[in-house]
């Protein structure tokens, strides 16, 4: 069976979870790009190029970086802000996971239960998830792959997300700083 590629959709209603199609989470120090295991530095380079080349890149910070749970959360939030400014990304928050349909305003927030509305409404071509709890990130990434052609990137504090087109695992403050540095460097070269 050919290896399943995690590519932009729309893949149709109910796309299969990438895990069911044989995509495994990356080992420590590795990352996934479109379903294939690569080195973390390669993935970081690819993320930088993707967001800098996008027409309307957007970052979706979730509750883990929006709310002041800890000093680390606040530091990550600061880096999210800097990354967005550096790469010219819009910030659309996911403050909680209530299914606020039909009252959600897709121009100002995103909800994991219908993330496609926010993607469509804002014509987002590349999005970055950060600070979203794993189970909701998985749901949202799959819906986006199913219904839109948006390129998804997941910066995960745990083991990564195989349903994203690019995913980094164990994203700490230091890794975010490294990503920001690569974005700055890539931007300078463009």
């Amino acid at each position: 069976m050919p290896q399943y590629k995690v590519l932009p959709g729309p893949e149709g209603y109910l796309p299969p979870p990438a895990a069911l199609m044989g995509v495994e989470l990356p080992e420590e120090g590795k990352a996934l790009v479109e379903g294939e295991t690569v080195s973390e530095s390669d993935a970081v380079q690819k993320i930088a190029r993707k967001i800098l080349a996008a027409k309307n890149p957007t970052i979706f910070p979730g509750p883990l970086v929006l709310w002041a749970w800890s000093e680390t959360a606040c530091k990550k939030a600061q880096l999210v802000r800097e990354l967005a400014a550096e790469a010219g990304m819009k910030i659309i928050p996911m403050p909680d996971y209530r299914p606020k349909y039909p009252m959600i305003n897709p121009a100002v927030e995103i909800n994991p239960n219908h993330p496609n509305l926010t993607i469509w409404h804002n014509k987002i071509d590349v999005c970055v998830f950060i600070g979203v709890h794993c189970h909701y990130a998985n749901v949202a990434l799959k819906i986006i792959r199913g219904g839109t052609d948006c390129y998804t990137i997941a910066l995960c504090g745990e083991y990564g997300h195989e349903d994203a087109m690019i995913t980094l695992r164990d994203v700490t403050v230091a890794k975010l700083e490294a990503l920001l540095a690569v974005v700055r460097e890539t931007k300078r070269k463009l």
């Binding site: 970086v65 929006l66 709310w67 002041a68 999210v80 209530r98 009252m103």
Partner: protein, 283 residues
């Protein structure tokens, strides 16, 4: 949960939707808010898709303004009109399968007690009469038998409103509804009496006619459930859509029902009485 948890990371504060910023800056957890303070703080429910004149929506608004500890409260809802409102409530809430709400609340309460033994966490079930007294009756009563420390609030609109108006066990005898043209053949279930004999330490029967009293009773029920045992609040919420009540008259209908068949009735167990006396929380 402390207020610290309801603060935002400064770097992303301005990216948050306005309603969240207002909740953090002027939400119900800042000070001891009651129904009387409505209009002076950002409420947990401001927009909802329920019908004009809905007594359930009014009750929900009053209940949410009366939670003794909103930052540490978890609501468990069920299928029905009320579930349409919960989506807009700015507080933790769980939608359970139709009728399962008291079983789900039991699990939530027990796990919270294990996970946060030193904290007061309130679990409040809010469901309609169909979920509480028909489909979920066994879950409701067994949670009372077991003495689970949860509050059960029933919005009693006396029929299945959001599916078109079928009769429920709480529909009064003889009532004709859109989907029950022959009229109810048996009397309304007396869940208030059942609650008293099933282990509830506090049970109250009331309407939306007196909003301050409704708020006070809800608060009392939640505080007693936290420390004494199960409590039950039954609120008459006449449905303007199914009962063809003009929206502007729906509170009048609730007031009229309180004078007749839905008179205020409150039961407090001996254990609850002594708790209230000891804590000076008699009112």
């Amino acid at each position: 949960m402390s207020k610290r948890i309801t603060e935002m990371c400064p770097a992303l504060n301005d990216a948050m939707p306005t309603e969240y910023r207002e909740l953090v800056e002027n939400g119900p957890w800042l000070g001891d808010k009651t129904v009387k303070d409505l209009g002076t703080f950002k409420e947990l429910l401001e927009e909802h898709p329920l019908c004009a004149g809905c007594n359930l929506a009014l009750s929900l608004k009053i209940i949410l303004s009366s939670l003794p500890n909103p930052a540490d409260t978890i609501i468990v809802g069920s299928t029905g009109c009320s579930s349409l409102g919960f989506m807009q409530v700015g507080i933790h809430n769980i939608h359970s399968l139709f009728g399962n709400q008291n079983a789900v609340a039991t699990g939530v309460k027990r796990v919270l007690s294990m996970r946060f033994p030193d904290k007061k966490k309130d679990v409040v079930v809010m469901a309609g009469d169909g979920a509480t007294a028909d489909i979920g009756l066994d879950m409701t009563i067994h949670s009372w038998f077991r003495g689970e420390k949860i509050t059960t609030i029933m919005f009693d609109n006396e029929l299945y409103a959001n599916t078109g108006g079928q009769e429920s066990g709480m529909t009064p005898a003889g009532r004709v509804a859109y989907m029950a043209p022959l009229g109810k053949k048996f009397p309304k279930i007396n869940l208030f009496e059942i609650a008293k004999t099933s282990g509830c330490h506090y049970a109250v029967l009331l309407t939306t006619a007196n909003t301050v009293r409704l708020g006070a009773c809800v608060k009392k029920a939640i505080l007693l459930a936290r420390d004494v045992g199960p409590t039950y609040v039954q609120i008459h919420t006449p449905c303007p859509t199914n009962l063809k009540i003009p929206p502007e008259e729906s509170i009048k209908v609730a007031k009229d029902s309180e004078k007749e068949r839905y008179a205020f009735n409150e039961y407090v167990s001996e254990a609850a009485k002594s708790f209230l006396e000891n804590t000076g929380n008699k009112k």
